[in-house]
Symmetry: C2
Subunit: 217 residues, 2 copies
């Protein structure tokens, strides 16, 4: 695969960002619609036709992390932060001090108990946040353990999450994080992230395909 220029990356972002957002809105509308059955059937037929056209030229694999960019890689397929993944809210994670932070909104598609975010969706978000915190500290890794403590129900709507490194010991990084709603702290998490052996070997050998922090997210 050829390396992409900054302009090409930006053009793709402008194309796929709003496109994927339209899919998120469709997913939400599909959950909550009460239109007549015939309307659902005709939407169904149209969606199948669109899918068929998009499938006429598919990648041979899943999206993964696109390494055709300047070192960092694009995690556009990622289930939490992926610009091209309609399942991802998506989170925009920013570095803040030695940690990371994200503000995001979760609607009907992320529901568990009525009106509440699914407990597992909160775990999904926190796994990503803690992994990003580990990566931001220069020690990316795969999740080894993750422990979640739910303090109160998390209502659907606007949320924030923060995560930071607690401790580093060689290839191991311990990170902590939280989710806050309008009601305050709702979930706490701690996790251990470990750089896998194959990645250490690649990094040590100076392999040009060296995994960047985003590779593990």
């Amino acid at each position: 695969m050829d390396e992409l220029s900054r302009e090409e990356v930006e053009a793709e972002r402008e194309l796929y960002g709003p496109f994927t957002q339209s899919l998120r809105e469709l997913v939400d509308a599909a959950i909550r619609t009460t239109v007549p059955a015939d309307e659902v059937r005709s939407a169904h037929a149209e969606i199948r036709a669109i899918t068929e056209r998009l499938r006429s030229a598919p990648m041979r694999t899943t999206y993964g992390v696109d390494l055709r960019t300047d070192g960092r890689g694009r995690a556009w397929g990622n289930a939490v932060v992926g610009l091209r993944n309609a399942i991802a809210p998506p989170l925009t994670v920013v570095q803040e001090g030695r940690g990371v932070r994200a503000a995001f909104t979760l609607g009907a598609a992320y529901e568990g108990p009525p009106g509440s975010v699914h407990g597992g969706v909160l775990a999904l978000v926190l796994d990503q946040m803690l992994g990003e915190a580990a990566g931001a500290g220069g020690k990316p890794g795969m999740t080894a353990t993750l422990t979640l403590s739910y303090k109160q129900r998390t209502g659907l709507g606007d949320l924030t999450s923060e995560a930071w490194i607690e401790r580093v010991d060689g290839i191991k990084t311990w990170a902590r994080g939280e989710i806050h709603s309008v009601d305050g702290l709702t979930v706490e998490a701690e996790g251990l992230f470990i750089l896998p052996k194959w990645a250490r070997e690649a990094m040590a050998s100076g392999d040009p395909g060296t995994p960047s922090p985003r590779f593990f997210e």
Copy 2:
């Protein structure tokens, strides 16, 4: 809201099940497509039009758990098992002995590291499975704590999960669960589920809106 007959529920299942499946295929196709930009733009315009029509008659709230059925409630909006939620794989969870089991497939939309299931998605699935195990044992509850231990990477593809109750003490239920891929055991989980006070009060008062196990999933 009026109670639905068994026939009405089945008719809705036959309508919305395949419709939502078509959305899951669209989400997958959108991540992996390499069609020209103009094709993406026309798909985008069509998707917006479909969304607008579906939105002409929306529910006033999120889907939640539809209680218009015979006691159990329908968690069709749920982020893991929801028949009407395109984010849900969806899991079909069956009772097996005193525990629960599900076989499912995770594709491009559930990716974290290239070719692997996102660690947080595995947490999402296990939170649901452990909660279902608690509910199947007659003690539904909200997640209080959840601890995940990742044994090896989980490749995208066909997976199975099992969960069972470890111990019950009053309103508290401890459950355990696992995920297996073609490579064997990949993740272990344990969690504590607690029936919230408002639900205990509703159940004690014989409130007809008494939450069924599915209410917490």
